[in-house]
Amino acid sequence: MLVTNLTILVLAGFIGFAVISKIPNTLHTPLMSGTNAIHGIVLLGGLLVIGLAGNSAFNKLILVIAIAFGTINIVGGFLVTDRMLEMFKRKPTSAPKDGEQK
């Protein structure tokens, strides 16, 4: 199991390098924000551990906090990235509009 997981780990690292290294400078901030949202996947860890039997009350408390943190990371991260990118996207439509006003 460990070896399989390490294989996945290494291959995922290479995919990360291959995909990301092509991104132009201008999109680095949205990219950083987007990858930031993706590591919110730790939420899954919280969901898995809280599902196990035998969690103490203290454990349940910190896991609820962890799940809340993970959710903030995911929801906030994707939303903020979306807001940033929307600004790039609406350029082609809004530029001619500026022209019309004049």
């Binding site: 996945i8 995909v19 990219l31 990858t35 039997a53 609820v64 959710t71």
Partner: protein
């Protein structure tokens, strides 16, 4: 009905859902490579995340639904308004904060795992409530996740505090003791982690380890100046990704491994890119004092240049701009701080109405993050095709009538080409000095964050307009209307 239920909870089906999620993550990130596909890319990645979450909730034995709903509800209630309301200029600290909570989740999960497994039970093969004996690697990866997660949580919060100006932006350092202290804190955290892996089940040791890592997170980020925070945030972003991947190995969850590792890889590249663009080495940044006094030694002192500084007025600048054919705007950190992007766009519109061609020269590290300047200008409705990257705009400066430098300093300093003794020697810069005339809008003659005098200001074709970027640009626009 029974068939449907068992199908949903089938382990292979869940794996397939995870594979779909990975594919969407990777495809989404590929979409982020272009401005036109980026929005879709981000949404595709978000769909992947939703699938990964649903697949996890379908795991056999999943329970405690009330608590899960509670946690998710709190997270949503906090996350959505925060993301909706944040201003674009405050984006870097928001990313820092979201990164911090991710790191927080990682170390809390590692802590809960610790309690759950009887302290990563080892070596006697202690059986836990949930499953069989706990292999050693679970302890190793969990401890790694706990330490890095804690460093990332505290480091990101400090970064947030500095950018939000809750903490002083200047470096807070222990001087020459800084590195030994950082090293000692790191060594203590690792040593305590080793004790746990070796079989100690003491929760006290685990908590002490978290505290040492927390202190390390503070000690690493506090000495770094506010202007250099992006490199640190990017580094912490990568660290959180790696710690999530480690959590995945400990919990035997491929979704965490893949997503965490992709973030780890991307964050490392970004960090490196930023450091290269600033001509700094990553070890030097971590060593502390960056962005404050650290680089001043060896910098040329004031008054070392021939020539004098020429001060100009808004009316003169307006006149110059009105009769120019090509104006290149060089925005920098100062523009972001003064929130002058909308004023700049107004000026550009007024000039375009007079038939002046406008371009924006974007240095890779202008603003507070790579690409931050593009976001700020995009927010102010600047057409995307007017934004030129450094390599595209540099050949255009010789035919530029006026280069309007707004709140940018070190990225325009010719010393990077001419003075081998300068700390920024070798850093790629925008060659604004080649323009027919240069107008620099700046608060004062204070040097930039690198603490270096800028020879550009003493050139005969340069004039300075002193003042706040926003009001200075607005003044120019007002004067322009009278011409």
């Amino acid at each position: 009905m029974i068939l449907a239920t068992s199908f949903l909870h089938n382990e292979n089906f869940l794996r397939v859902l995870y594979i779909a999620a990975f594919a969407l993550f990777i495809y989404g990130l590929m979409g982020l490579t272009g401005p036109r596909t980026a929005v879709r890319g981000n949404r595709i990645a978000a769909v992947g995340m939703a699938i990964a979450v649903i697949a996890t909730l379908l795991q056999p034995g999943e329970g405690n639904w009330g608590l899960i709903i509670l946690g998710v509800a709190i997270g949503t209630a906090v996350g959505i308004p925060a993301a909706r309301r944040v201003r674009m200029t405050a984006m870097p600290q928001m990313v820092a904060l979201f990164n911090g909570v991710g790191g927080g989740a990682v170390f809390l999960i590692a802590w809960a795992e610790f309690d759950n497994t009887g302290g990563y039970a080892h070596p006697a093969g202690l059986h836990t409530a949930a499953s069989g004996p706990v292999p050693t690697y679970v302890a190793v990866f969990s401890i790694f996740a706990a330490i890095i997660g804690s460093v990332s949580f505290w480091g990101s919060n400090i970064a947030f505090g500095k950018l939000q100006e809750l903490l002083p932006g200047r470096p807070i350092t222990l001087g020459s003791l800084q590195q030994p202290v950082n090293f000692a804190l790191g060594a203590i955290a690792v040593a305590l982690g080793v004790i746990i892996v070796a079989g100690s089940h003491s929760e006290l040791i685990f908590i002490l380890m978290l505290l040492a890592a927390a202190a390390l997170g503070n000690a690493v980020v506090l000495p770094i100046g506010g202007a250099d925070m992006p490199v640190v945030i990017s580094m912490l972003n990568a660290a959180t990704g790696l710690s999530a991947a480690a959590t995945g190995v400990a919990l035997n969850n491929p979704a965490l491994i893949v997503a965490g590792m992709i973030v780890g890889a991307s964050g490392s590249i970004l960090t490196n890119l930023m450091a290269v663009a600033m001509n700094r080495s990553i070890p030097a940044i971590i060593a502390g004092g960056f962005g404050g006094g650290g680089v001043v030694e060896g910098a040329t002192g004031a008054g070392a240049f021939e020539g004098t500084v020429r001060s100009t007025s808004a009316a003169d600048v307006a006149m110059q701009l009105a009769y120019a054919r090509l104006v290149v705007v060089v925005p920098g950190y100062g523009m972001a701080v003064a929130q002058a992007q909308h004023a700049v766009r107004e000026l550009a519109k007024a000039l375009e109405a007079r038939g002046v061609e406008i371009k924006y020269a974007i240095h890779p590290v202008a603003g507070r993050m790579p690409g931050h300047m593009n976001v700020l200008l995009a927010e102010a409705d600047v057409p995307y095709d007017q934004l030129k990257e450094m390599d595209d705009i540099n050949p255009e400066f010789p035919r530029t009538d006026v280069a309007l430098v707004i709140g940018a300093n070190d990225v325009t300093n010719p010393a990077a080409h001419t003075n081998p003794g300068s700390p920024i020697y070798g850093m790629p810069i925008l060659d604004v000095e080649n323009a027919h005339s240069v107008v620099v809008i700046k608060r004062s003659m204070n040097p930039g964050f690198a603490g270096i005098e800028n020879e550009l200001y003493y050139k005969p074709n340069t004039s300075m307009l002193f003042g706040d970027a926003k009001s200075a640009v607005a003044d120019i626009t007002a004067e322009l209307a009278d011409i």
